[in-house]
């Protein structure tokens, strides 16, 4: 067997064009929405919000949206945070400082540089003692993170929070990371349908295949190309519209077909 089925109980979204999943629904329905303010991450206590780097604000914002929609208590929700490049502004700062004045490296920026900084801030803010993970898979981070989160939800028979986000490229590093814009999204995945369920995802691994061209989706191709995490957009568009099929990359040479069905 190489298929998994999970239910989507909540969705979060933030990009320079879209401040929420509702904004995506509106745009796909033909209603223009104004560009959003920067990610509020209102769930973080004020002190943490001031200290938190941009990668954390983005991830916490979309995670909060999804968890609120799902009605789940985040304190008991295992979480998987995917990101292809982590916090690029911090990586740029670290490499530039190490090249010039290494002894002046900021301890706070160093501990914020770990790939699991969003998972750390999120679990601290929500009092979550469940498992938390931070993953990546180059341009396939969304699909690989979805596979990991769905596996966890089914193996442990409990809802799981998936977050996939990337900040914009920064400094010389931007030349090699291919992510001109920030993008974040989140989903609460549940093994069973519930009151908040938006739809059921059947995930099917397709060895040797490649992802759909963005043109096949209802969202503009340049939005999808602007961030590695934005490879989630075709699936989010299906969720906004109700049902359908798309394909994402789950690894460098492993496609994953996603069949979204509405739940009765």
């Amino acid at each position: 067997m190489n298929a998994l089925a999970v239910h989507v109980d909540g969705v979060g979204l933030w990009s320079p064009q879209l401040g929420s999943f509702a904004a995506l629904r509106a745009i796909l329905g033909g209603t223009p929405v104004p560009p959003p303010a920067r990610p509020a991450a209102a769930l973080l206590p004020a002190g943490e919000r001031r200290r938190a780097p941009e990668s954390v604000l983005l991830a916490v914002e979309v995670a909060s949206q999804a968890v609120t929609m799902s009605g789940c208590n985040p304190a008991g929700l295992p979480c998987v945070f995917a990101s292809s490049h982590g916090d690029q502004a911090i990586m740029d700062y670290m490499c530039a400082t190490l090249a010039a004045t290494p002894a002046e490296l900021s301890p706070t920026r160093f501990h914020n540089s770990v790939h699991n900084a969003p998972a750390g801030y999120w679990t601290i803010a929500t009092g979550c003692h469940a498992s938390s993970s931070a993953v990546c898979a180059q341009r396939a981070s969304f699909g690989a993170g979805l596979l990991e989160a769905a596996s966890l939800a089914l193996a442990d028979a409990r809802p799981v929070l998936l977050v996939c986000s990337d900040t914009a490229g920064s400094g010389p590093l931007a030349e090699v990371t291919g992510s001109p814009s920030p993008f974040g999204c989140a989903m609460v995945l549940s093994p069973q349908p519930g009151a908040s369920t938006l739809g059921r995802l059947a995930l099917h691994l397709c060895p040797g295949s490649i992802a759909d061209a963005p043109a096949a989706s209802a969202v503009p191709a340049d939005w999808v190309a602007a961030s590695p995490s934005a490879s989630a957009l075709p699936l989010l568009a299906l969720l906004a519209q109700g049902a359908g099929r798309c394909r994402v990359m789950a690894a460098g040479s492993l496609g994953m077909d996603i069949h979204l069905e509405e739940c009765a």
Partner: protein, 401 residues
């Protein structure tokens, strides 16, 4: 309530660290209580500290066909793969199950960031990366996994887990889930982290680096020694290898306390440990040995010593092996999993090297010197920044089936 898992076979494993290349180098160093730490000779202006550096990485170029992946971290990965017949075991698994039915799940904290650091030291006059550094895949945290997938011809699920110092312990949990759900038939798990300026100066900025060789659980300990390592294991269903050691369980939990300091009561660490015991269907008294996280930081060792004291009877033996290898960060989970498997195989409880004046917080479980005894069940603890905790449970050949 968690259900026990069906134990899985660990059909091959290997490690390369400051103790040397492969299992026999590690067994001998442990048996002789010989550290691999040395005065820091890494980088242009080395910090005054000790490191666990692997000899010969600079001379171990990648095969020409893989040259686009050149960096210290991938060199160490390749060096590690070529020990103990591990490469042959992976090729055999790929033949047996198919390239898409073997998962590749690796942990790393900094991957090849050392190469990105180098690019920043050699920026062009116009401020861009020099031409030889314009290799996007090595400037991403998935560099290690991307390299391994290409080098090994694996085409199944391929994921990097980067949760700081628990990274390459958590890969065992992902592997068990994927095999149980039928997504794959086998998983190559492991991890590699290499010395780089980011971690040396970063931990130094946090005042966590010892000037002397690290002394885990010593009353006068003064911080960590950073090391580098590569380690790998091949996980398959138990039927595939009745005589192989077993992955019996795993636990994962979060502190929800602080980004760089452990929970004062070891809450997340204890949840992970009890989760591992529950999945393994074990009681604490059945555990013969615990390989501790034991970094020699003031806080970690204080919290972990108390945890061992309140969970285990005095017959359970416990030690940190970071006095041998240094703290290999994202590779610590797999390196210490391999040391735990060696302890089971050879009936050797490694002594807690560097603990010359035991911290009074340490109970009778601590093995300060090597002990020869049969080990049927052993655990390995790995805790990371962000309050990220993992615990693995292993058993001897054919146990728990």
């Amino acid at each position: 309530m968690l259900q026990p898992i069906t134990p899985l076979a660990v059909t091959a494993f290997t490690a390369t660290s400051a103790l040397g290349r492969g299992l026999e180098a590690h067994r001998l160093a442990l048996q002789d209580a010989r550290t691999g730490l040395r005065a820091n000779d890494f980088s242009l202006a080395p910090l005054a500290c000790w490191v666990g550096r692997v000899d010969g990485v600079e001379q171990a170029a990648l095969p020409a066909s893989l040259a686009v992946w050149e960096c210290r971290n991938n060199r160490l990965a390749w060096l590690g793969l070529n020990q103990d017949g591990f490469l042959g075991a992976v090729h055999a698994a790929r033949e047996r199950y198919g390239a898409a039915r073997v998962a590749l799940l690796v942990g790393t904290s900094t991957a090849s960031i050392g190469t990105t650091e180098e690019a920043y030291r050699r920026l062009d006059p116009d401020g861009g990366f020099p031409a030889d550094m314009l290799r996007p895949p090595i400037h991403a945290p998935h560099s290690l996994a991307g390299f391994l997938a290409e080098a090994l011809g694996l085409e199944g699920p391929c994921l990097t887990i980067s949760t700081a110092c628990s990274s390459s312990a958590k890969v065992f949990a992902s592997a068990e889930r994927m095999i149980r759900l039928g997504l794959v038939d086998a998983a190559l798990v492991g991890g590699v982290d290499t010395l780089c300026e980011s971690v040396l100066f970063g931990f130094n900025a946090l005042e966590l680096v010892s000037r002397a060789p690290c002394r885990p659980f010593d009353r006068t300990r003064s911080g960590i020694s950073i090391g580098e390592a590569a380690g790998f294991a091949l996980i398959e269903r138990a039927e595939a290898a009745p005589r192989a050691p077993r992955l019996l369980g795993y636990g994962e939990a979060s502190d929800a306390h602080h980004m760089s300091t452990p929970h004062p009561d070891g809450l997340g660490a204890e949840l992970a440990l009890r989760d591992a015991l529950a999945r393994a269907g074990l009681e604490p008294r059945q555990v013969d040995y615990v390989n501790l996280h034991g970094t020699a930081s003031l806080k970690n060792d204080e919290v972990e010593a108390a945890l061992i004291g309140r969970v285990f009877p005095s017959g359970t033996r416990a030690s940190s092996t970071k006095g041998y290898t240094g703290h290999t960060l994202g590779a610590a989970g797999i390196l210490e999993a391999v040391i735990t498997l060696l302890a089971i195989r050879h009936g050797l409880v490694p002594g807690n090297l560097g603990g010359n004046e035991p911290d009074p917080a340490c109970g009778p479980q601590f093995a300060w010197r090597n002990e020869a005894r049969s080990i049927g069940v052993a655990l390995s603890n790995s805790f990371g920044f962000g309050g990220n905790n993992a615990c693995l449970a292993f058993g001897g050949a054919g146990s728990g089936a």
